[in-house]
């Protein structure tokens, strides 16, 4: 069986600068890939390249073995590739429920009418624990709830491949656990997930493998424990101090 997601030599240049350069990796069904790296390393651009929001300068993207390079975002979205945005993008003038219903209206299993989609939106809201605020306006949501809405919108697309761009940013430690549980349960259902995250603890907890990006390129990839011990990763991203502390803590 072909992997759910595969990139081959994926490259994107803005002006002269390569935001993503020569990335090749693949993701098997039901696995979780954590992507980390300093800000500006190209993590969000990678997601944009996969979803078609940004066109690659070189290389290709395959979903379920099918080449989707250059396809428009809605086509890719309808083949059950859903995403969240790092900067949350709610539809401000629609209610929380209507926001989620949009996915039901235009996603892979499109409801026959707007009304039906709105009626079905509550499932996704319930999953992210946002049902209470279904009638609120997105502008009145807290940071954490706005992240939940972003997640619910992605879930309403009934994804096979889910691309999460910093969905835990701004959450309190206590709020991170439910998000991790959700990712785990999605994984159990066979959803393949790519997680971009800064919260190291979170990413270590859910990822089957880790991709470290630096200046657009792959710095290291593999199982999380090995990657975290990689000298280059420590040098470029984690910093010596973090590594030392982590080591000391492990030993003591």
């Amino acid at each position: 069986m072909s992997p759910v997601l595969e990139t081959r030599g994926l490259t994107r240049r803005f002006g002269g600068v390569a935001a993503v350069s020569d990335l090749s990796f693949s993701l098997e069904e039901g696995s979780v890939l954590g992507v980390i790296g300093p800000n500006g390393a190209g993590k969000s651009t990678l997601i944009n390249l996969i979803t078609g929001h940004v066109k690659p300068s070189e290389g290709s993207v395959l979903v379920d073995g099918q080449d989707v390079t250059g396809e428009r975002p809605w086509t890719i979205a309808r083949s059950r590739v859903a995403r969240t945005f790092q900067v949350v993008k709610p539809f401000r003038d629609l209610s929380v429920r209507e926001n989620v219903a949009i996915g039901g209206m235009f996603g892979p299993e499109r409801a026959s009418s707007a009304r039906k989609a709105i009626a079905q939106a509550d499932d996704a809201l319930e999953r992210v624990d946002l049902l209470e605020k279904a009638d609120a306006s997105p502008g009145d949501l807290s940071v954490a709830d706005a992240r939940r809405l972003e997640l619910a919108k992605a879930l309403s697309m009934q994804p096979r491949l889910l691309l999460l761009d910093e969905v835990m940013a701004g959450l309190r430690p206590g709020e991170i656990q439910p998000a991790l549980d959700l990712i785990a349960s999605l994984k159990e259902e066979g959803v393949t997930i790519l997680v971009v995250e800064h919260v190291m603890k979170a990413i270590m907890a859910v990822s089957d493998s880790l991709l470290v990006m630096h200046e657009g390129a792959e710095l290291a990839r593999g199982d999380p424990e090995t990657v975290m011990r990689d000298e280059r990763v420590i040098e470029a991203y984690l910093g010596q101090r973090y590594a030392e502390r982590a080591r000391k803590d492990r030993e003591g």
Partner: protein, 231 residues
């Protein structure tokens, strides 16, 4: 010098900060830490006047600065290096520095900033937008110092910078403080921030949940668990 008491602030209908107390003394380095979206940036924006406070008191050198426009706050001696550096991308480094001295009516003293950041000397005529992230951050801090502030607030110091570079900038900032400018540093790398700061505050969903001497905070299990990623 800076006294924040019971500050509440937010954007439109959404409150982001509740009842925040925070002080910075003369020549002191204070770290403000917390996760993304906790309200650190909002706190700095409220102090520098970019957003209005909905409650509480802001005092600087004993005078209230609540409700002052940002262009006046900087005149009082509070400089703010905003998140993402926010250099003027089409201006040269020298012009950026001169813009930083705008509040200083008696002209710009570029030399003073260049002494602290000698790298910039070779870059003076380069367009700021074309520099690397590290150079931009140095330029942004240098620009902040151009108004000869008594307090310099730096938001997300290490954003997008390699750890090595962060070390270097932190070292420079130690020198800045020794020369008499107090620093309020917002930083996600809690470890790094608390290492150069004498005191720290932990902000969590808009409230100060912990504060004290840096060493104490570093040993606080809650801080360690939540922000250092170490259990």
């Amino acid at each position: 010098m800076l006294e924040v008491t019971g500050l509440s602030a937010g954007y439109g209908q959404v409150e982001v900060l509740w009842d925040v107390d925070l002080n910075v003394g003369d020549g002191e380095i204070v770290a403000l830490v917390g996760s993304n979206g906790a309200g650190k940036t909002t706190l700095l924006r409220a102090v520098s006047g970019l957003i209005g406070a909905s409650g509480g008191e802001l005092r600087f050198d004993g005078d209230s600065i609540a409700g002052l426009a940002p262009e006046r706050v900087v005149g009082r001696g509070v400089a703010h290096v905003p998140e993402g550096r926010r250099l003027f991308p089409g201006l040269t480094v020298e012009e950026n520095l001169k813009a930083g001295a705008f509040a200083q009516r008696n002209g710009a003293d570029v030399e003073h900033a260049l002494e602290l950041f000698p790298h910039l000397r070779d870059r003076l005529s380069q367009v700021a937008g074309s520099m690397s992230g590290g150079e931009q951050q140095m330029c942004a801090i240098a620009r902040g110092l151009m108004s000869r502030p008594k307090l310099l607030m730096i938001d997300e110091l290490s954003l997008g910078l390699a750890p090595k570079l962060v070390e270097e900038i932190l070292e420079r900032l130690g020198k800045v403080a020794r020369l008499g400018t107090a620093l309020l540093i917002v930083e996600q790398d809690v470890d790094a921030a608390l290492r150069i700061a004498s005191r720290g505050y932990v902000l969590e969903t808009g409230r100060i949940v912990s504060s004290g001497k840096s060493a104490e905070l570093l040993d606080d299990p809650r801080v360690r668990e939540a922000y250092l990623g170490i259990e």
